[in-house]
Amino acid sequence: MRSASVLGAEGVEFTNLFYKAKEGGANVGVVPAANEHLHPYLTSLGDKVEGACPGRTAEVISNAIRSALGLTRNEIGDLTAAESTVHMIAEQFVIDVHGVTDRQFAALKQHYDEPQIVAMLFRMALADGLGKLEKVG
């Protein structure tokens, strides 16, 4: 058993502590089984965020963050210039969010409007938080 007390799940075996938050994919992440009541809300939010991200950026963000965390990920092929900017910021989001530069953010604004950027930042926050939860669990 690991970290069970941290998650408030005393007595829960590690192998049962997490389950996939989304069927068949690691894109959204995992939820502690002890907090199963959060699952429908997290899935709803995750689906809405994924749908609001332009083009392939939801997958680009997931890949960048899961790669930075050393987690499994899918291959998605060559990135466009816009997607590369998203990828770079997502990586920095994991390493140290304060390290995202004004220049990087200005580049993001050249390719995407503000609602799209909000959606992508939300995606980064979800992938980062849930990925780290998966990592330490």
């Binding site: 907090n35 809300y41 965020v49 609001a52 969010v97 304060h98 953010f105 503000e114 609602p115 909000v118």
Partner: protein, 65 residues
């Protein structure tokens, strides 16, 4: 600084903070606050423990909230 978003709020008279930025995506905002309310109102951890973790996390990440 994490408490000074680079994005402009939807309402030009509003301060640029998490809530006013989130207004760019009202559907996401609604889904997020449903999740957030569920997180705070139910679960296996008591409220004080959740708040302690939240405050510690905010300090480490230099979050003004």
């Amino acid at each position: 600084m994490s408490t000074s978003p680079r994005l402009a709020p939807v309402d030009p008279n509003a301060r640029s903070v998490f809530g006013s930025i989130l207004a760019h995506q009202p559907g996401l905002a609604a889904a997020f606050f449903e999740l957030y309310a569920e997180f705070w109102n139910r679960g296996v951890l008591d409220h004080a423990s959740k708040e302690t973790v939240r405050m510690r996390n905010a300090r480490i990440t230099d979050c003004g909230y």
